[in-house]
């Protein structure tokens, strides 16, 4: 059992493998894998492999990407069974044996081939209370916030989420319970609960603890291990749980 998925491999292509055997999902929810042979290169990400297949094998292969550097969260797919961002997953890290299987993300409806419909993921983001409400206007100066305060550090820890839905795809509760808001949405709620400028604290806490909220998370911990940018939704959700307990006991600081 390995808890680490993030250690980069220093050697990219030293394995001497010349071609990759690549299985790619074709079709919608009903579909099948198709196998392709793709040249192995030193500098090659999983997204490059998919691109190669589109350019040289199946021109109408559907996949999604935008930034190609790990900031837009558009390119996530299931790679050899694990959800990952593909633009920053070096082939050497996942296909030591020269075999790759690439499928769409789990837990989201498949549009076609490698593309999923992320609509529900963002609906849940909103549903979890993930929207800032301020008290000041654009005519006023900005709030002073102590950068070393515990709340600010909590918010910082979760804020750089790229909404790639890798965690959403890694979590079994999401597959078991369609109402579960999922790790990313709750992580965002947690950053707001730690944002001293956010006025709708009670609303966000209520949304994040309601049906499908933090109580549905069973601390499976797959999300925090899969998150490509090193965010720990598990920790954030635990934070909401703790806050809901304090709130229940009338001990929450506001």
């Amino acid at each position: 059992m390995s808890d680490t998925v993030q250690t980069p491999t220093a050697e990219p292509g030293g394995s001497g493998i010349k071609t990759l055997e690549v299985q790619i999902w074709r079709g919608g929810a009903e579909g099948a894998f198709e196998t392709f042979s793709v040249p192995r290169r030193d500098n090659q990400t999983v997204l490059d492999v998919v691109t190669e297949v589109q350019r040289h094998h199946v021109p109408d292969l559907a996949y999604r990407f935008a930034c190609r550097v790990g900031v837009c969260g558009s390119c996530a797919m299931t790679v050899n069974g694990t959800p990952r961002w593909t633009c920053r997953t070096h082939v050497g890290k996942v296909a030591g044996d020269g075999k790759l299987s690439i499928a769409p993300l789990r837990n989201l409806p498949v549009i076609r081939d490698l593309v999923t419909d992320m609509g529900e993921f963002f609906d849940k983001w909103t549903k979890a209370g993930g929207k800032f409400t301020g008290t000041r206007s654009r005519a006023e100066p900005m709030a002073e916030v102590d950068p070393t305060s515990r709340a600010r550090r909590n918010a910082d820890a979760g804020i750089e989420c790229i909404n790639c839905a890798v965690c959403y795809s890694a979590c079994d509760v999401v597959s078991w319970d369609k109402d579960y808001l999922g790790p990313a949405a709750l992580n965002r709620a947690w950053t707001l609960l730690n944002d001293s400028r956010h006025a709708a604290q009670n609303e966000t806490l209520a949304a994040a603890t309601a049906h499908g909220g933090c109580g549905s998370c069973h601390t499976q911990g797959s999300c925090m291990r899969a998150c490509p940018v090193g965010i720990s939704p598990t920790r954030s959700i635990a934070g909401i749980k703790r806050m809901s307990l304090l709130d229940f006991l009338g001990m929450r600081r506001s």
Binding site: A10, T45, A62, G70, V71, R112, A143, E160, D195
Partner: protein
């Protein structure tokens, strides 16, 4: 061909900083307006605003002033910016950054005393760049996206605009023709006001930084509609893009400028430092100088195995580098490169288009009903964009566009009947490749990017530009003969590659024509046959129009120094300005 029809009050093309801000402001002005957002990718998850690393320029701190920010922008732009636009940018940035913090919810980094931290960015006389770590764009776009998702707006995601459709009676814009990329269905959206916010993006160069969805579609559509594009020769190159070889999409992506600032070395293929031969500031010289120096080394053949140069950080101490630049180190490591201790191959990379559609301070254009904002627009930055002025530009003018469109509709803007022939022509253009024999589309794309890199790139001259023009004509002819295999239109990325190439070719032609017209060197544009900057007092900008049949007409227009003249300053404390 079947076309589905939609109607809306406001149609916004693109969901970068400009598009999202416009939606927000339009809805704030009048919550009853029907606002539709159409975007080539997913809402907020494409485009370059999300990719902003450095941050957002705004004069906030004591000691800084909007006048100073303005002078920096004008001088950085080599006196080419339209001054009323630049002034609107620097004044608007102050309000917009507060709006982003106080209303939208961006949580920018703080000083120990709780105030906003502002860092240094090259080419500025004051540390005024607001940021969130080194991933400022994620914070800005995610927060904007949340606000917009919570609004009652219509979303047309994975919809590609292919034609701006004028009214049949010529009175203005009627709407936009789009392709629903998921199904391949054509969709005409009729709107009282349309915002062009598709973000330009010089992705026709062999090495480029922008998001893969950007392919100058907006500029090509605007040109076909008859609008003028200005300053198109001004293509900004970032000196250090990652070089991973031709077959990886990582190639061209930015390695941040701070690496040089922190003391990183640039080494040529022989592993020798060379920057001192070009500029006394060495590696710390400005973007354009470093880019030109690297290009010169490359052209002289002193290159690395993959044809670039090296960046080396190891002498600063592996641990220190890993600690100061964790994001960059991890990004390189993910792709198999050791930035902290080893040598990483880099190359200058096309980053930003200063040029674009001519527009007014209120974001209106020459066509009633069509508004424009963000990187699609020209005139704000002149010959060079300061790092940190790009996202300020898209958010400031995006918001203004939202206000203007709401006001435009409140004043009684009609729904206009579309010119059907333009819709038909748009569909015919898009359908064309399906009727042709499959060809070497990706080879063609490589040829285009080589042409632009070699002949219309960092160092230009009349011979190269003439050669570039000829090759572009060949590429154009080749595209017109290159078809697609199969007939599936649903999520067919190869079809969209074809359409991307079509737009990129158009923009390339405009860039080349503009570069030929500018016979001096300034900012991002460098002519080896005219290495000097011309007389600033008689500065003119280039302006290109299409005739509708693929021919371009170009003229140059004197810059109106409406606020300050070359050699003068509006800084009260001119002594500090002189540094």
């Amino acid at each position: 061909m079947h076309v589905e029809h939609h109607q809306t009050d406001i149609l916004i093309l693109g969901t970068g900083g400009a598009g999202l801000f416009a939606a927000l402001h339009a809805k704030q002005a009048n919550p009853d307006l029907n606002v539709t957002l159409a975007v080539k990718g997913l809402l907020g998850k494409c485009g370059c605003t999300r990719m902003v690393q450095g941050g957002y320029n705004v004069a906030l701190a004591a000691g800084d002033s909007i006048e100073r920010h303005f002078m920096d922008s004008i001088e950085g732009g080599k006196w080419l910016p339209r001054q009323d636009l630049a002034w609107r940018l620097v004044t608007g940035a102050v309000e917009r950054i507060r709006e982003l913090e106080n209303e939208v919810g961006c949580f920018f980094d703080r000083n120990p005393d709780g105030t906003l931290h502002q860092k240094a960015f090259a080419g500025q006389t004051f540390d005024r760049t607001v940021h969130k770590g080194d991933l400022t764009g994620i914070e800005i776009i995610n927060r904007l996206m949340e606000q917009v998702l919570a609004l009652d707006v219509d979303k047309l995601e994975e919809h590609r605009a292919i034609e701006l459709v004028p009214a049949a009676d010529g009175s203005g814009l009627a709407g936009v023709l789009l392709i629903d990329m998921r199904t391949g269905v054509y969709r005409f959206v009729q709107a009282r006001a349309v915002l062009l916010a598709t973000g330009g993006g010089p992705t026709m160069y062999r090495y480029h930084t922008p998001s893969g969805d950007k392919s100058c579609d907006g500029l090509a559509m605007a040109l076909r509609l008859g609008l003028a594009l200005r300053d198109m020769e001004m293509v900004q190159f970032h000196p250090t893009g990652l070089l991973g070889g031709p077959d990886t999409r990582m190639t061209g992506t930015v390695l941040e400028e701070g690496l040089r600032g922190a003391g990183g070395y640039l080494l040529n293929g022989a592993q020798e430092r060379f920057m001192a031969n070009y500029d006394p500031k060495g590696e710390r010289a400005t973007r354009d100088i470093v880019s030109r120096a690297i290009y010169a080394e490359m052209r002289a053949g002193r290159t690395t195995p993959m044809g670039g140069i090296y960046i080396s950080m190891g002498h600063l101490g592996r641990d220190k580098v890993a600690k100061s630049f964790p994001g960059m180190v991890k990004r390189c490591a993910d792709c198999g490169f050791d930035l902290a201790g080893g040598l990483v191959e880099v190359v200058p990379t096309a980053h930003y288009l200063m040029g674009g559609v001519e527009f007014e301070v209120d974001c209106s254009t020459a066509i009633p009903g069509l508004f424009a904002a963000g990187e699609d627009c020209g005139g704000v930055h002149g010959a060079n964009r300061l790092g940190g002025n790009g996202v300020a530009n898209s958010t400031v003018f995006g918001g203004i566009a939202g206000d203007s469109m709401a006001a435009f509709i409140a004043a009684g803007a009609p729904l206009r009947d579309p010119d059907k022939s333009v819709i038909d022509a748009g569909i015919a253009r898009a359908e064309r490749p399906f009727a042709l024999k499959p060809g070497d589309l990706h080879g063609l794309r490589d040829r285009l990017s080589d042409t632009m890199w070699d002949d219309v790139g960092i160092l230009r001259d009349a011979t190269g530009l003439a050669r570039g023009t000829e090759k572009l004509a060949d590429h154009r002819a080749e595209l017109a003969e290159t078809g697609l295999s199969g007939s599936s239109r649903a999520f067919n990325l190869t079809w969209h590659d074809w359409l991307n190439l079509d737009s990129l070719l158009t923009a390339s032609e405009v860039i080349t024509a503009s570069a030929q017209a500018r016979e001096d060197s300034r900012g991002a544009h460098f002519r080896e046959d005219f290495p000097e900057t011309g007389n600033l007092d008689s500065t003119r900008y280039t302006r290109v129009r299409g005739d509708g049949a693929g021919r371009l007409t170009i003229d140059t227009v004197p810059v109106d120094f409406s606020i300050v003249r070359p050699g003068e300053t509006i800084l009260k404390d001119a002594a500090t300005a002189a540094q």
